[in-house]
């Protein structure tokens, strides 16, 4: 396992209060609510599990006097199509749901598009919206979720999806800024941040090709 202090972003001599605050900040950053219904939700859940394990390991290593009890994080539940979370029952779309759960988004969309318009139920519109949400087609996803909810107003799964499609607008963008970045920021053990800068510069060039300017200083 990686160094738990690194995972929480605190020095090894951090106080319990500092550890606890770091854990709280990270919990807020990768919260289930923030990523609910988002294509990256499973990844966020895995990240949160790493953070929970790191926190538990640090606390277990401190004195009993210092350590505080913490309720099990297990709050994430299963993925979007879990029976436990939304209790969906088998339907003619079960195969399509299985296809989506295995990550075959394009195959699922082909299957959905093959269903004639007069056979498109609320579940069809929900699954179509899900496919579009995964692809990044936020506006079309919203329209299809909205239709699903209109056809079955009491379906919790459809209502949750409709609520979540615009959740990134306020939950992700606005609150992420509260995270205090480590001033040292040394050592990148994964993807090269130059890839991101390169991409942003490419985006700026693309924008300028169309007459705009993404990054005004270059």
């Amino acid at each position: 396992m990686s160094n738990p202090y690194e995972i929480l972003g605190v020095p090894e001599n951090a106080s319990i209060e500092q550890v606890r605050q770091a854990y709280k900040d990270l919990t807020r950053k990768f919260s289930k609510e923030k990523y609910e219904g988002n294509p990256l939700s499973e990844m966020a859940q895995r990240r949160m599990k790493e953070i929970d394990d790191a926190y538990d390991e640090i606390i277990a290593g401190r004195s009993i006097y210092e350590a505080t009890g913490r309720q099990s994080a297990g709050a994430y539940g299963a993925d979007h199509f879990s029976q436990n979370e939304f209790g969906y029952s088998k339907s003619e779309f079960t195969y399509i749901r299985d296809t989506l759960n295995s990550g075959r988004i394009n195959d699922a969309e082909t299957l959905l598009d093959g269903i004639p318009p007069n056979a498109r139920t609320a579940e069809w519109f929900f699954l179509k919206g899900f496919v579009q949400h995964r692809k990044g087609w936020m506006e079309e996803a919203y329209k299809n979720y909205e239709m699903a909810v209109r056809m079955e107003p009491n379906n919790r799964e459809y209502a949750a999806a409709l609520n979540n499609v615009y959740s990134s607008r306020s939950g992700g963008y606005k609150t992420a800024r509260t995270h205090k970045h480590d001033a040292d920021c040394l050592g990148c053990n994964c993807c090269d941040p130059c890839d991101i800068c390169t991409g942003l510069i490419c985006a700026d060039c693309c924008c300028e090709c169309f007459g705009g300017d993404l990054i005004s200083c270059c």
Binding site: K29, F30, K34, Y35, N38, P39, L40, M43, A44, R47, Q132, G136, W137, M138, E139, E140, V165, Y166, S167, S168, R169, S170, G171, G172, Y173, K174, T175, A176, R177, T178, H179, H181, D182, C185, L186, G187, C188, N189, C190, C191, P193, D195, I196, C197, T198, G199, L200, C202, A203, C206, C207, F210, G211, G212, D213, L214, I215
Partner: protein
Amino acid sequence: MYRKARKNAPGFDKIVSDSVARQRALETQSDAVCVDAAAEPSAFALSKIFSHNLSDTEQIELMSRLGYMLGRWVYLIDAADDLHEDCENDNFNAFAPEINSPDLCSSLERILETTVGEISLAFELLPVKRYRNIISNIIYDGLNQAQNKVLSKYGGVSNEQPL
């Protein structure tokens, strides 16, 4: 310079040229095009550029998503910026069907902010440490400033300031 760029980043020229061709084809065909479809070629190209040469599946997914949403945002902010001019010159614009709508400004704001929100969600999951502050500033401040400048043309700037 092109030869050097092609050597250092093989495949990038094809990604961009394919995207430009798809974009042109989409904007000249006669069927109505939704906003998501209009942004797709540019978004797809940047998703490929961002995830180019990565091998870790999680990184590929995150960088593809980040690149896709950033490409989508670039296309849409440009469309929002040029909306009136494009309509006057009868040029394609993804937002043209809404130009006379009283909800135009709020619609533009919603679409752009949701896209930036998605950029943020992907970026926060990336374990980037070096230069994180610089990239954060671009995403959380730079994009917001560009958005506010464009939206001010339509009488609206979001009252919610990024923290």
